[in-house]
């Protein structure tokens, strides 16, 4: 059994043992936490232990589907997928911790769905077979659908779960058709074979659009983003965290892994479209954030804006933009979970997410306010945080290819500063609202240990991004070689 198999199978095995062995509730939580946590060091070792001068797949495992034919499913790691795997293994234990005390109904199912989600996500980042990628891409929908539908907060949760499921499914069935078209031409779903094959320009244009619809809905781009605020608002805290941290990044990963190398001419053709849509997303989402009264919705819209920057970077067509988008994917994958966890902390105490009920929390919850301030600042991309590195590289990459887009996007990001700070100020400063008197406990130990690694990583990547960037350098330049 290789490291990779352990990495993928461990959450599944843990979830299975949770189902068949009768633990007490506290034991269940501990088992699930460890089951989710054990893959983290493995994934970190796997990431650091990669041969970083080599752009090819490493730690390969092949499973043959049909004996006697060359249909093989390849699992492996490369410099692009390894950080995302680590991020997944890092965020899932946090999500389990976030629901530690709040979840009272169906604890086993909750924990099992987390572990399943973790296993599926690790598998989706390690697979190098287009069909298996698609299957796992869709399969991640089911745990998150169940999570929102059952453990969501309000009655509207059902609608949100529906929207999440159907929007993503709608996009990805087009990807399915594209996938089948590719198979009909190439005769294989294997990534290596696909990279080596050429598609005619007309077919590329079609295939790109299908893939773009799937990944664009997942990431989400602006006209098709409507499911995201709903899902974020209705999901339990952990659900929002994993949505913002990993699931949205699946779209970006898909762009980087499949769209850019496979459909390079089409990428060039559609770059203006993608830039326009991203710009629209940045501007529209930023301004929409300003008028939100629900805290989670505000964070959700702000992540749409940041994702716009990521797509600008991905489609900038140069290495700087690509590296920037990757760093921003990682940075946003740390910062926005932090923000959602902050809101979760508030919601656990006061059972409301409306901004108007809060005020002056800095007086009663100083530690919380400090953490919230930190993440708000990180979210607006202040130098010294991971987001700054990513946004800076994205914008400079975009400036090289399309300077007007970069200028517009930068100016759009100003309003992100406005909404982040505005949200923070309204919650933490001012007079203490009545609701805040009910319960004035600051962060407890569990919550502190949730936030501490997030803060640490944000600062580390912000101040010393070189290790991360250098690890990303080879795979991304390889994608660039293939794509442009």
């Amino acid at each position: 059994m290789s490291w990779l198999e352990i990495l993928i199978l461990f959450p599944f095995i843990t979830s299975f043992s949770l189902l068949i062995i009768s633990f007490t509730e506290a034991q269940k939580k501990l088992v699930a936490l460890w089951g989710a946590l054990v893959p983290l060091p493995i994934s970190l070792f796997a990431w650091v232990g990669l041969d970083h001068a080599n752009f090819q797949l490493q730690n390969i495992i092949c499973y043959s589907v049909l004996p006697g034919t060359n249909s093989e499913v390849v699992l492996g790691l490369d410099g692009l997928s390894a950080p995302l795997v680590s991020l997944t293994c890092f965020l899932c234990p946090l999500c389990i911790l976030a629901g530690w005390q709040v979840i009272r109904v169906g604890v086993t199912e909750y924990l099992v769905s987390w572990l399943l989600l973790e296993g599926l996500l690790v598998a989706v980042f390690t697979t190098f077979d287009l069909l298996v990628f698609y299957i796992l891409f869709e399969a991640t929908l089911i745990p998150i659908f169940v999570m929102i539908g059952i453990w969501g907060s309000r009655l509207r949760k059902v609608k949100a779960a529906y929207q999440l499921f159907l929007y993503t499914l709608f996009g990805s069935v087009f990807m399915l058709l594209a996938l089948l078209l590719i198979f009909a031409q190439v005769g294989s779903f294997d990534y290596g074979v696909l990279i080596a094959s050429n598609f005619s320009i007309e077919r590329q244009l079609l295939l790109f659009l299908s893939f773009f619809l799937a990944f664009g809905i997942k990431i989400p781009m602006v006209p098709i983003h409507l499911w995201l605020p709903e899902a974020h608002v209705e999901a339990p805290t952990g659900g929002s965290v994993i949505l913002a941290g990993i699931l949205l990044k699946l779209g970006g990963y898909g762009f980087l892994r499949y769209t850019l190398p496979l459909f390079s001419e089409a990428v060039l053709f559609y770059t203006p479209l993608v830039h326009t849509v991203s710009l629209l997303g940045i501007l529209y989402a930023s301004f929409t954030t300003l008028r939100q009264i629900d805290m989670k919705k505000a964070i959700a819209y702000s992540s749409i804006a940041h994702i716009g920057v990521v797509t600008l970077g991905i489609f900038s067509g140069n290495l700087m933009g690509l590296v920037g988008s990757c760093v921003l994917i990682l940075g946003h994958g740390v910062v926005s979970p932090g923000l959602f966890l902050c809101i979760g902390v508030l919601y656990d105490r006061y059972k409301t997410r409306l901004v108007r009920y809060y005020g002056g929390l800095a007086q009663v919850m100083p530690l919380f306010s400090a953490v919230f301030l930190f993440f708000s600042i990180a979210n607006l991309g202040l130098p010294g945080t991971a987001n700054f590195v990513g946004e800076f590289l994205c914008f400079s990459g975009c400036f090289q290819s399309n300077n007007s887009a970069a200028v517009l996007a930068c100016s759009g990001m100003i309003s992100s500063a406005a909404y982040s700070l505005w949200l923070f100020c309204r919650i933490s400063f001012g007079t203490l609202k009545t609701v805040s008197f009910l319960q004035v406990a600051d962060l407890n130990r569990r919550e502190f240990f949730m936030f501490a690694p997030l803060v640490f990583i944000t600062l580390w990547v912000g101040f010393y991004p070189k290790p991360v960037i250098s690890l990303l350098f080879v795979p991304l330049s390889c994608i660039l070689e293939l794509g442009f």
Binding site: L66, L131, L136, F137, I142, L166
Partner: protein, 502 residues
């Protein structure tokens, strides 16, 4: 001396010995049917209730038939003066038919015990219809196919009207009877026209004839062909001929609905695929477009009409119509992928169908009729809720469940056969169908409902029998296990499609 001396290959000895070997499963089945009938008649005189007994016996018989079938000599052969044909494709579908029939008898057994019905003929009728279906699958000419169809249909009419006190059942039986008679009429008309225009009765003669003569030279063959095949479209419930499906599903009792939904589809699509691929493939240019239209309308109409349904059985009926559409679509692609896709789709359909119908039969005591009645099921019976969820996800074709592979291979064959627009419609309709399957899941998992199932569960406990719960669990696990290791699925479908073509 011998008036039919032209058939010099004929000799009594080889004729019967080969037939006995090759038709052994069928012969055994018919003997069992007669034996059970006599057994039932003799022993029911003493006032014993034999329904459970005969059902158990028929499960045993089916297992033996299955074993006989698996031990059959293999290869392609014609039996009984080329009335019946057998190859790997047919054999595999027959095995699955038998397994499905075992499942159906098991769930009927539970239903019989629950309803305390005293009709041992039920199982006998089921076995007769199974024999008919097997005859349909292996038929090599118009007459044996017709005999098989009638055996199946006649026992199904009776099964539909089985519950005598229910008006719905009587209505369903009558409707099914009338529609079946129309379909038989179409079949006979089409078959006699085909015979009239070509002079062939054997299907293999058609492929020979049509490969030597341009189809357009045979006058009127297109008309005859379409009349002939419209009877099959009637039977599978494809769109212009679908109106009977929801009413019949709704009216019949649950176990019979399960039988109607599962058994004929397997056999009919087997025989449709074989007829179109092996014998009428020279007419491909002619039949492809109309059948694609039928398929597309089937899944579009099935998905759209199911959106408005409140009753679970009607919803399943419309789901069945759209499944027929997808299967037909796979056949229409005219590629080997298509045959393979049909097999994969059929297997996934059977698996999910068995799961959902077993679960429904198990919930029978709580009178689950409307979708809203499922509310709160997940709280009181998480295992059943999980099984239903798995089967519905499979029916919707959501990836990690086996139904996805069915849809995938169907669409793959469609794209390989350049049916781009149809595939686009199919994909969109599968999204729409996800919508209504998700609605059931929502009711099961996210709602508590005004009419709580909880009262029923806390009062009666679980009403699943041991066999039924084993069946549900087995199928639900298979639904997830096959995608993890799809080797066996692909192997079976590949093997059977090669058997069909080669």
């Amino acid at each position: 001396m011998f008036p039919f001396s032209v058939h010099s290959r004929f000799s009594y000895f080889s004729f019967f010995s080969n037939d006995l070997v090759s038709l052994l499963p069928e012969i055994f089945l018919v003997c069992c049917i007669c034996l059970f009938l006599v057994h039932g008649v003799v022993f029911s005189k003493t006032g014993r209730i034999l329904s459970t007994n005969v059902a158990n016996l028929s499960i045993l018989a089916l297992v033996f038939v299955c074993i006989l079938l698996c031990c059959s000599p293999g290869g392609n052969y014609l039996a009984a003066y080329s009335c019946f044909f057998e190859d790997d494709f047919i054999r595999i579908i027959k095995v699955f038919l038998l397994l499905t029939c075992i499942f159906c008898v098991t769930l009927s057994l539970f239903y019989i015990q629950l309803e305390k019905s005293n009709t041992f003929e039920y199982s006998v009728l089921l076995l007769i219809s199974l024999f008919g279906i097997i005859a349909v699958l292996g038929a090599n000419d118009f007459l044996s196919l017709y005999l098989g169809l009638e055996l199946q249909a006649l026992s199904f009419y009776t099964l539909a009207a089985n519950v005598r006190v229910s008006e719905f059942a009587t209505e369903a039986g009558l409707k099914y009877f009338v529609i079946g008679a129309v379909a038989s009429g179409f079949y006979l008309f089409g078959a006699s026209l085909l015979y009239g225009f070509t002079g062939c009765v054997r299907f293999s003669d058609f492929s020979l004839l049509l490969s030597h003569i341009a189809p357009a030279e045979v006058e009127g063959i297109f008309l005859a062909f379409f009349i002939f095949f419209s009877s099959f479209l009637f039977k599978v419930g494809a769109v212009p001929f679908h109106a009977w499906v929801p009413d019949v599903y709704e009216g019949t009792s649950l176990n019979v609905t399960a039988i109607f939904a599962l058994l004929p589809k397997l056999a009919l699509f087997g025989v449709i695929t074989r007829l179109l691929f092996c014998y009428f493939f020279s007419l491909f240019d002619v039949w492809q477009f109309p059948f694609v239209l039928c398929a597309v309308f089937s899944f579009v109409w099935g998905s759209l009409a199911a959106l408005g349904q409140g009753r679970i059985k009607r919803l399943l009926a419309y789901g069945g119509i759209s499944h027929s559409g997808y299967l037909l679509f796979g056949v229409c692609s005219g590629t080997v992928y298509g045959a393979q896709g049909v097999v994969i789709y059929l297997l996934s359909y059977i698996l999910s169908g068995v799961t959902i119908f077993c679960s429904l039969v198990g919930l029978r005591f709580s009178r689950v009729r409307y979708i809203a009645d499922f509310a709160g099921l997940s709280l009181f019976s998480p295992g059943v809720a999980f099984a239903i969820a798995a089967s519905l996800l499979s029916a919707a074709g959501i990836p990690p469940v086996v139904g996805f592979f069915g849809k995938l291979s169907i669409f793959l064959s469609a794209l390989a056969g350049s049916l781009y627009v149809g595939a686009l419609f199919g994909v969109l309709c599968s999204v729409i169908s996800t919508f209504y399957y998700l609605r059931i899941l929502r009711t099961i998992f996210f709602e508590n409902g005004s009419r709580p199932l909880g009262a029923f569960f806390s009062f009666f406990g679980s009403y699943f029998s041991k066999e039924l719960s084993f069946l549900v669990g087995f199928c639900a696990v298979l639904l997830f296990w096959i995608p993890i290791n799809p080797r066996i699925l692909f192997f079976i479908s590949f093997y059977s499609s090669i058997g069909l073509i080669g």
